[in-house]
Every structure is written in C-alpha cells, then in structure tokens.
C-alpha cells in the first residue's frame, strides 16, 4: 500500500521504524522494587496508638499532696475528738431553721395518729 501524500511505502516506514531507539534498562530495577515492596509492607503495620496519661508536673504534684495530707489530718482530728458529729448536727439544724416552712417535715401528725390507731 503506497501513500499518495508522502510517497513513503509501508516497507519504507517499517525500515524507518526499525531504526527507532530501544530503551536501555537501568540495572537494579528488581532490587529497587523489592526494597519498595518491603518498605510498603513495613509501613502497613500501624501500631495501635497507646494513650499515655500525662505525667503530673511538679507544680501540680505538691498542692495535690498538701491537700490530701490536710484532709487526712482533719479526718483524724474530727474522728478522735468527736467534734465531727456535733459539727454535722449543728449544720443540719441550721439548714432546717434557715429553710423555714418549706423544709418542715410533713405527715408527722398522720404518723402519730397511725401509731395511736394501731395501739388502740
């Protein structure tokens, strides 16, 4: 088959194509590929992220220790002196007094009547 535009025949084109460059393969492709595969395989192992508790700093440790020690001393002192109970009782009474009628116990009379009924 001849080409009317250029005059080149198929045979001539084939002869020219036969003169095209041929690629020169770079040495070591397989080893580079193997290294990349190995690297990918290694990168695929994703360690589960471990959440670490933040280490307390010196600035936060001292006040915390002081507060714990103080609460321990107070607890021992209240327990040994018996003042803890009186403190709680007085606190409860004060709360009832200040809350007025809203805090008045209801149903006490009914309870008394009920008690009387059962006895009679």
């Amino acid at each position: 088959m001849s080409d009317k535009f250029t005059g080149l025949t198929d045979q001539e084109l084939d002869r020219l194509l036969a003169k095209a460059s041929t690629p020169q393969l770079h040495a070591g492709f397989e080893s580079r590929m193997a290294a990349r595969i190995a690297q990918t395989a290694a990168n695929n192992v994703v360690p589960f992220p471990q959440r670490k508790a933040p280490a307390p700093s010196r600035a936060t440790r001292l006040p915390l220790a002081a507060a714990l020690a103080a609460s321990l001393v107070l607890g021992v002192w209240f327990g040994s002196s018996g003042q803890g109970l009186t403190l709680f009782e007085s606190t409860a009474e004060t709360a009832m007094l200040t809350s007025g009628n809203d805090f008045a116990p209801t149903g006490m009379e009914e309870l008394g009547n009920l008690d009387a009924d059962t006895q009679s």
Binding site: D3, F5, T6, G7, L8, D10, E12, L13, R15, L16, L17, K19, A20, S21, T22, P23, L25, H26, F29, E30, R32, M33, A34, R36, I37, A38, T40, A41
Partner: protein, 206 residues
C-alpha cells in the same frame, strides 16, 4: 548444622519452584503478601512494562518510576485480576493509563533533535546519522495520539498479536486495526518530507 542445611535446601527448592510457577500461583501467593513470589512476577514482566512506558513517554526519565508504580498497583491488590493469564495485558494497560494520566497533567517535553557533531573517528558520521534517524523516528512516534501510539507500540515494537494487543487495550480487534492504520498514516505524514532523506542517510551509513 544438618537442620540448617535442610532449611537452605528447602528454601532453594522453593525458590526454584517459584521461578517456574505459573502466574496464577504467584498471584495467589502475592495475595498472601509473599514478597518472593511477587518478586518473580516483577522479574518476569518488568522489562515488557518498562519498554512500553519508555515508548509511550518518549524516553522520559520517570520511566522507572511509572514502571514501579504499575507493579505497586498490582501489589496493592493482586486479587483484582480475574484471569491470571491476562496479567501482562493488565500490567501494560495500567502502565499506559499511568503515563497518560501523568502527561495529561504535565505535557510531555519535545524530544530534542540530535546534534550533528562528528568526532573524527572512523564510522563516527554513520553513528551520528543512525542516532539522528532514531531521534527523528522517536519524535514522530512520540507525537502520535496516545491510543494510536499505544497500539503501534504493542503490535510493532512489542510484537504482540492483534488479539493480545486488543485485549490489553480493552478494544475490539477491528478498533485496534483502525488505530494501527491511523498511526501508520500519521507517521507517514509526519516523516513524509524527510523520510526519503532519512532512508538515504541509512543507506550511505551502511
């Protein structure tokens, strides 16, 4: 000592088995993340892939990268191939798609014309002429539309049958033949003016 020897012998036998193993078995092993089996596939096909990529991208320096990327696509999921016998065609298709994607974003550099410089050695002129002819032909091939260039590369340069090339390109044989005919016509037009001169250079160089 004996146990170590036995392990080495069994490893060598396993390596020999891998070398002769069919693609299907190697793909199965690669799907189980067997790097040695995948290495055999690489050594079996990388030259084919490299040559096609080199031809499609006009001998660009990133031929090695594209070839590696092609095999990385396979390594990412070896089970994606429905038929192991279609592996070569699949690799060439992926490689050609990668080339087209790359150069769609970044137009290919024009192949520079060879410089006509003689170094005075006997036969140096003929050597330069041969290089010049090769450069001109390379440039004409590189300037073809992508699909025509791929068809020509597979059939003419890679010596694949029309059926295999059509399968690799996922087109009918008729479509492939049409692409080939257009590619050859395009080359004749491109080389037409200088074709005879180039042929004359080749004859005087021989």
């Amino acid at each position: 000592m004996g146990a170590v020897l036995a392990i080495r012998v069994s490893e060598e036998l396993a390596a020999q088995d891998l070398q002769g193993a069919p693609d299907a078995a190697l793909l199965e092993a690669a799907a189980r993340r067997d790097q040695k089996a995948f290495g055999v596939l690489v050594s079996r096909y990388y030259k084919d892939v490299y040559r096609v990529v080199w031809r499609l991208n006009g001998g660009h320096a990133d031929t090695d990268d594209v070839t590696q990327e092609t095999f990385m696509r396979l390594w990412a999921n070896p089970g994606q191939l429905r038929e192991a016998k279609a592996l070569k065609g699949w690799l060439l298709r992926v490689a050609s798609n990668l080339v087209m994607d790359r150069y769609r974003q970044r137009p290919m550099e024009e192949i520079e014309a060879a410089e006509h410089v003689t170094d005075g050695r006997p036969g140096a002129d003929a050597e330069v002429d041969a290089k010049y002819v090769a450069r001109v032909v390379d440039g004409a091939v590189a300037a073809l539309p992508e699909r025509q260039k791929l068809a020509l590369t597979l059939v003419h340069f890679e010596q694949m049958s029309n059926i295999a090339a059509a399968a690799a390109m996922e087109v009918s044989v008729d479509a492939l033949e049409s692409l080939l005919a257009r590619a050859r016509r395009g080359l004749k037009e491109k080389l037409g003016a200088d074709g005879r001169h180039l042929l004359g250079m080749m004859e005087t160089g021989q």
